[in-house]
Every structure is written in C-alpha cells, then in structure tokens.
Symmetry: C2
Subunit: 390 residues, 2 copies
C-alpha cells in the first residue's frame, strides 16, 4: 500500500526522540535497485529549509539511493549549523547503507527556527538502518512505520498504491495537514516505483502529476518552506513502462494522496472542491479557483453551512482572469444560486451538511477547466494553529 | 467629530426597516455648498455592486450634492432590477432635496445577492430628508446618527475630525469590520470638508490619503464589492486651503478612521502592525507586509500569543520582492528573534499579551518602508463569519 508496495524498496520508521510525544519521528526509505533513478520537486518558497537546499543538490544528477525524513523540527532558518545537521544526517545514512551521501535526500518537518538535535538524529538513523538490515523492511508494516514517522499534526498515515496490468507498481506515502498550499502544500511525499524508467522520464511524469494534484490543493493558503515530493525508481519489476500509462498511474496515486491530505487538514469540517469551467485558459481557471479557496469569509461561511455565494463572486472579482463579471454562473452542491450575475435558485435549497462541498463556477469565457481542493475555516483550525508548537 | 464637523453639511440617520434589528440603516449627507466639489475612490474588485456602478458615473464630473448610504443589503449581483433600485433611490433623494439625481452618490452594504426593498428605501429617504429639513441636521448628534446608520457588524460608530489653524475643517465617518482588505477594505467612508478646493484638488488629496491608509489595512484578505470612500467639499469656510497641508490633514483623518476599523475588526483580539523596512521599493514593502498579513497560520499564532516567526518568514518567502532570503531580520514587539536568517533572541522573551502587536521585518535591500495593519485570526472571527447573514 505504500513505499514498499513496489519491489526493490526497504523502509523503516523509528522513534528517535525528536518528538516530545515519543512517537515515531524518523523514516528511511532505501532504493535497493537495480536502478537508482529519481526525480523530485520542491517548495517554490524562497525561504527554503536546509534539507531542501541540500536535496536540490542531490537530485541534480537524477541518482538517489535513499531518503531520510524526520518530523519534530523543520531545520529551517537555522543557519550554517542547521545545514551542517542536514549534511551529517545524510552522511550517517550513507555510512550505514554503504552508499554515497550525495545520493541521500533529506526531508524535515516541524517548527521553523529551532536547531534539530544531531545526536538524536544519528541514533534514529542507526535504529532505522538496523531495522532495514535485520527486519522485514520490504513489508507493508515497514512501509506503514515509515509513513507514521513523518506525521506531525496528521491524525492518520497517508498511503496509496497502484499496480499496472503490465507488471509494475507505483506506491507512496505523504504527510501534511497544515500550511497546505500552492506550489505543493506543506507536505512531504515519497513515491516509489519498480517500473523501468530513467530519471528524465520520472521527472517528466512527476512534474505532470504534481501540477494537477498537489499543486491544486490549497487548504489554508500558506506555503511551506520544506515541501518535497520525491519519486524513486528501482526498476526491480524489469518491466519497461509506457511513459503515458505510467504518468496516468502516478497522477492517480498523487491525487489519492492529495485527497487524503485534504481530508485530514487541520480542523477542517468540509472538503471543498472548487471547479472552474469555461475559462479562457487553464491558468485562469486555477487563478479563479485559488482566489475562492483563499477567501476566509467564504471558508468560514461553509463551516457555518451558509451557501454565501456572494463571497464566491467577491473572491472571483479580485482576479485578472478573463470573464464578464456579470456573466458568471455559480452552483453550490448542485443548486444554481447565481446565473449571469443575478440570483437564481434560493440559497436555502443548498444543503451544506455533507462534508463534501462542490462549488461550480462557470466563467463563460472559453473551454478550459481546473479544480482546486480546499477546506473550510473552522474553530478547530484556529485552535490547532494557535496552540501548535511542535 | 464627524461629517457635520465641517460647516456646510447636513446629515441624518434613520431606521428604514432594512435591518431586521430595527436599528438605523439609512443615512443621507447633504452638501449645502456654496461648492459642490467631490472626489471618490471605489473598490478595485471587478465584481462591483450596483451602487458602485452608479456612483462611478456620478463622480465623473466632480459634482456631488448629496450621498445616500444604506446598510442591510449590498445590492450586489442583483442584476438590472438592483441597478434600478439604486437609480430610484438617488431619484428619491434628488426629488426631496431639489437637486439632480446625477449628483447623488449611493452606497450600500450588507449581504450580496439579495434585492433591496425599494419601498423601505423610499420611506427611509423620506424620513432622512425630513430630518435634514426640520431637525438640527448640522449638529454632532446628526453626524453620529448617520455614522450609526451605516454600521453592519461594527460594534461602534467611527468618526474623526481635524480643524486647521487656517480655519477649515475636515471630518468623516466610516464603517467596516469584515471583508477588510486591499484596494480599500469593506468599508464605506464619507469625508467632508469646508475648505475651498476644487474637485481635482480633492481627488489628488484623496488618492494620496487612501493609498497610505485604507489601502494598507488588510484585516482578513477579503476585498469587498462595495467599497467607497467619498470626499465632499462645501467651501463653506471660505478659506482656500493649501493643498499640501490639506492632504496631510486628510491623511491623518483617514489614518484615524482606518485604525478605528482595525480596532473593531470582526472577532479580533490583536491589532497587528507589520512594518517592513529597508525594502528596495515601497511596493516591495507593501507586498511583503501584505503577504504576512494574509498568513492564516501567523495570524492564528498571534491569537495564541505564540511569536512564531517562522510563519512570518514562510510568508515573506512567497513574494517576489527583492531580498536575500537568508539576510532578513525579524523583531516582534521589540525582541529580535531572527537575524540574517538565524535564530537570535529566544522567542520566549516576546510578550504577545497586549492587544497591539508590532512586527518589524528588515529586508536589507534598500531604504523604503511601509506598514500594513491587520488583525489576528480568532475563534470569534470564524464564529461571526460563519453565522453572519445580515
């Protein structure tokens, strides 16, 4: 079901003591080959965490032998000492797995501006690599342990997998619950495949898949400093995958994980899909959807089961997308509340009690479309994010 | 203290029955001359309410004899019937005051997508113009009644005034508590002056004043469809004002009103000033300040008295302003928590219990600065905006 669903991968998740709760907080996923192909995309935030700065260098040659991830600290805005911590973590993994540190991706998540404890990290690396060497590290249980180790405010581990009739598999794990926004979300995602593909092919497939999945999840408008989505290819199935078929499968796995992130977003009581249709361009559709997804007033109204479509249009009107402001239609959960800028069906007909909410915005400006996934703004969101300090 | 502080203005605020509470909901301010000079700025939202569409036409010749404002309904996305309602409201005012409907500004605030009751509006106009004709309409009490009539979720009326040693006065009233954002905020503001200035001079002064006051108030990132700031000049003081001195005074009155809006923002428990210094350009400073002002995570942290400066930097990093991401300093309430991208003073030293919060961001990229005013994200904000339907 997870990073161990594809053959050629070993995983472990251990408790290194970085989390005060004592729960699992460090994961290692090793690519056992025969290939060591990889691709990755990172946050577009200019304030990047040290592990992102490190991993951007690692990925340049398309070769990755292992990835190490920790929760309990973002290692962001921690200066040269923080970068050294990332470097030494990669070195520790490399030494234990007899690989090159330059082939080890590093991911961290947690509070910004606090140094990670390198000694604890090293103990965690020791325990995780020991588990990989001695345990049943290619099992479903090992994959789950890794998925659990990257959780922060997540209430459940996120995993997905797909096996092609052609004989190859793609699977992955994700974490992320807050700071979920554009150009990825606050998320760490590791996807593995045993399909025979080179790093350039993996990169092409990954960029397509993230563009229409993780990049369209905008839970709270806040972009993280640590976002990383890594795709590792072992080639262990010995099946050369058709790139188009693989891209479709990868997109499906990414969408599955993105929807799990949305469903577990901090404090959310509604999962909102904002579908923008008849846009002049796909970018316009994304821009309009994202503007609505970032309207606190609209999101608070959904929390209160109030189909306040005026707040949808007020958000649409802040964009420079192509449309006639008085030619827009809006439907909420199947009830057309606004047609061509005038009230249509009574808002009282809209039922917002289900968790799933569908907002359909027809711009009447073309034939392109996009859907943005977001959540409502709730008391629990405020609570979790005013109290969060881990 | 208000729109009646300057000579040559009469005001009234009455209960027309638009608000279910029975409170005052319609105001008229009449310019008694001798001048009828005016300027106005409107929301930059492309989805504009009918009164904005109307008033944009009225202001083109710089002549305004009266302004009528109602709460209890935004008259936005109400189609041609809604525009007709705005038109007939202006006609009713014009007929009663024996002026031209083309010289009557109209403002509305409230729920989007519902028709206003024209009969109630007409009764309100009748009562308000009767009060102007028969009452002490140039009194402080009359100004206060008008200020009360434009309140929606505001908990108090907002008024300000300044009298120049040169002998002229500028005063005004404002309303706005939610949907407070850029390119104005959800606000209706009427400012009056008895200085002798023509409409072109009023326009110059008003655009300068709003650019550095209302345009830098960003309470919740949501831009309204109805924002209007109108400035009416009667010339009744018979004193020709120095334009620079007038602009400074007007800016002071606008800043006073903007701070009253911030202090009364829906559900807020902190008033946050985000001061960005050493920016390459003023636009950069505004962009960075606004990005932080729109970070739900940062705003929720402030609500919880948590000086989470990582969330400040994560927001700064989403902008394209000129800076070295690892050369930024951040201080919160006087404690320098981050210097050149590394932790400095312990965050525990920051006291966030006072309502006033000062975030100082030094970009080290130039010598320009700007301050954005915002609020924290609280349970009460979510509550008010999930329950709001009036």
């Amino acid at each position: 079901m997870s990073v161990t669903a594809a053959s050629g991968f070993a995983a472990a998740g251990v408790a290194a003591g970085l989390k005060s709760s004592g729960k699992r907080d460090l994961a290692v996923v090793q690519n056992l080959g025969p290939l060591n192909a990889a691709a990755a995309v990172f946050t577009t935030n200019r304030c990047k965490a040290n592990p992102v700065l490190w991993s951007e260098q690692v990925i340049t040659d398309g070769v990755v032998s292992a990835i190490v991830l920790n929760s309990g600290g973002a290692n962001c805005y921690t200066g040269t000492r923080g970068f050294q911590t990332t470097h030494e973590t990669a070195e520790a993994v490399a030494e234990r797995l007899a690989i090159s540190a330059g082939d080890v991706l590093v991911c961290s998540t947690g509070l910004i501006g606090e140094q990670l404890d390198l000694d604890l990290l090293k103990v965690g690396v020791w325990d995780a690599t020991l588990a990989i060497a001695t345990g049943d590290a290619e099992s479903e249980a090992a994959g789950l342990a890794a998925a659990e180790a990257i959780m922060t405010t997540d209430t459940r581990a996120k995993q997905a997998a797909y096996t092609s009739p052609a004989g190859w598999t793609v699977g992955g794990m994700a974490k992320g619950a807050g700071m979920l926004a554009p150009g990825l979300a606050t998320m760490l995602v590791v996807i593995t495949t045993d399909a025979v593909l080179d790093s350039k092919q993996l990169d092409t497939a990954l960029r397509h898949a993230t563009r229409v999945t993780f990049d369209r999840l905008d839970s709270d408008g806040c972009m993280s400093t640590n976002d990383t989505v890594a795709l590792l290819g072992s080639g262990a199935s010995e099946v050369r995958a058709d790139l188009d078929e693989f891209t479709v499968a990868l997109t499906g796995v990414c969408r599955d994980l993105a929807e799990q992130l949305q469903a577990d977003a901090e404090g959310a009581s509604h999962d909102i899909a904002i579908e923008v249709v008849d846009a002049a361009t796909e970018d316009d559709a994304v821009t309009v959807g994202r503007a609505v997804a970032r309207s606190n007033l609209f999101k608070a109204a959904v929390f209160g089961n109030d189909p306040n479509w005026g707040r949808v249009l007020a958000a649409v009107g802040t964009t420079d997308a192509e449309f006639d402001p008085y030619g827009i239609d809006v439907a909420i959960n199947g009830v057309q509340v606004c047609t061509a800028g005038e009230p249509d069906q009574p808002r009282e007909l809209v039922d917002l009690t289900p968790r799933a909410v569908h907002v359909l915005i027809d711009l009447h400006a073309g034939d392109r479309a996009a859907t943005i996934l977001t959540n409502d703004l709730t008391h629990d969101y405020v609570h979790e994010n005013s109290a969060y300090a881990s």
